[in-house]
Amino acid sequence: MNSLNRFLTISTTDPDDTRRRRILNILVVSITALSLLAIVISLVSVYSKAMVWENVALIVIGSLITILGMLLVYSINAFFSGRIAAIIFLVFLTIVFAFSDTPQQVSGGRSLFGFAIPIIMASILLVPWSSFVFSSISGIIVSVIAFSINSVPNSPAIIGFFVIALVSWLSSRSLEQALRELRTINANLDQVVVERTKALAESLERERIEAGRSQAILNSIADGVVVFDTSWNAILANPALTGMLDLPLELIVDKNFRDLIEHPKLSPRSRNLLRAMMEYDTQPPSFRIEWDKKTLSISAAQVYDYTKDRFTNIGTVTVFRDFTREAEVEKLKSTFVAIVSHELRTPLNAVLGYAEMFKEAVYGPMNDKQVNMAERIMKNTQRLLGLINDLLDQAQMEAGKLTIQMAPVRPAELLENLHSILDQSAHDKNLKLTSEIDDSLPEVLNGDGARLHQILLNLVSNSIKFTEHGTVHVRLFSPYRNRWGIEVSDTGAGIPESEIPYIFDTFRQVEGTTTRVHGGFGLGLSIVKQLVHLMDGDINVKSQVDVGSLFTITLPLVIPEENIEKWRIG
């Protein structure tokens, strides 16, 4: 079939020419085949004595001539010109029809219709209007034959030739028109395909460059980054991660995270944390895991894509940070804090106890000087203990380990404790330490008793420290329904206005030099402020040099549930 197709097709640059030459070839081959058939049938009929040779000789000779003519047409068509081949073919066909029957039949009878064939074919094999040329030729031939037998030319037949030519011309022209349009459409389509292909190639190239840049950025990040799709398959990871986990990239990328967390290097606790991370749809906070001997800090964030006016979750990006060193330092720090807290305080407690025993004359009478010395030892030891407590608190606050624990607290008890500790110091300096509780304050409120005590102790001992004569007054009150406050006022040295913004800073005292006069690290007020903030409260100070200072703290007022009824009735 393919070879037949090759045999029939003649490739040229003009698609119309190619089409016409192919049709001509088909006709040539068909006619050749028919002629061969005619020869075979004639020979068979002569051989079978159905016919005599004289009767079929003309058919055989005619067929042979036809075959030779067709070979000629095919050769011209194939190697020279389709147009000339077509003209020869059509002229040959017309001549064959002119002599195919008796002159009577050709000019006015049954054989007239034969001329219609070259007329129709002309419009297909040549340009459409050539039908008219062949209808004219046919008309002339028919007329000439009619005249030759002294007959009148068959005018309806000649008009019929022209009608056939007209129809052929019209149909052939519209066929060619349709083909031309099709070719234009095809050409446009080809152009579009070319353009689209080019655009696609460009965008792919851009994407490649973009991806390359992103990959370069990703590769240079010191933190391990891994991106998961919504079913926790790792889409991409960077080299820092493989270094951190000591795993090749192939064991991470294109693998499901659920498989990775089964790795034996991961501690069971960490495995549970990671499982929890995968289960919660909301953005999980950062947390730490133990991988082999490393501590890794993990933070994960959902990735959203904004399409069709809404956000769609397309996965999770997880950042791993090597936290081993920090974790070690933190551990050292809390160990240090624990050691200091126990190992320093215990011997100081012993010093304090022995000094007290001296003072109390447990082992026999002491003279005044000895008692005084014991008192000095006690006082200094207590100061040292206070400083250690301040340092520990500061360290704990820096580590974020100091937490506020709420429980029912009695304001009156806070003041009692304060008096029991500081009355003596105030008395020693000839100061009056007074206190009051406003009626507005409930009897019991929620608070961290130990930390409130610490705040009061720090503020009041600070006031005592900086006041040489007069009064230190403490007032507990409730300015409005959901707040309560602590006010500490003194008639002391006061604070210069320029120093007020800095008095709550860590390791700072007014004028920077007073440390030596008054002692201490200057941590007291800083700790007070941090504690107040931890309790969601505010602290303010008003002061006038040589007149005194007023510290005001306000805190959220929450009444313990079991006391609410009582408070309302009361």
Partner: protein, 122 residues
């Protein structure tokens, strides 16, 4: 006969100060410096009048001694239990479970006055 006060405290100096305070008001004092030894002694059928228990001890913690023995056995139902700790939070947590909580640093005078009030008048 004087009442027995058991001091369970691993720091030698503190133990001796506490002992002095308690002896001063007339208690018979026994000092144990180790959690393991304290456990053996407590399981030995004694019923002291007062136990001064440090929460941080070697081998067995004061907290364990408190929950596993002192709070469990009827023998100690009349014993006055005072715990000592440097951790104010821990002290608060045990406030309801024991008779007294003393936060370190503990004053000699404070302990002497407290135990003096506790001791039955003879």
């Amino acid at each position: 006969m004087s009442e027995l006060a058991l001091i369970i405290e691993d720091d030698e100096d503190l133990a001796s100060i506490f002992a002095e305070a308690l002896r001063g008001v007339g208690f018979e004092v026994e000092i144990i410096a180790d959690g393991q030894a304290a456990q053996e002694r407590l399981q030995n059928g004694i019923a002291p009048f007062l136990i001064l228990l440090d929460m941080h001890l070697p081998h067995i913690s004061g907290a364990d001694l408190l929950t596993n023995i002192i709070k469990k056995e009827d023998r100690f139902s009349k014993t006055i239990v005072i715990i000592t700790t440097a951790d104010a939070r821990m002290g608060e947590a045990y406030n309801e479970e024991v008779d007294f909580v003393m936060i370190k640093p503990i004053s000699f005078v404070q302990l002497r006055d407290l135990s003096s009030r506790l001791k039955p008048k003879s």
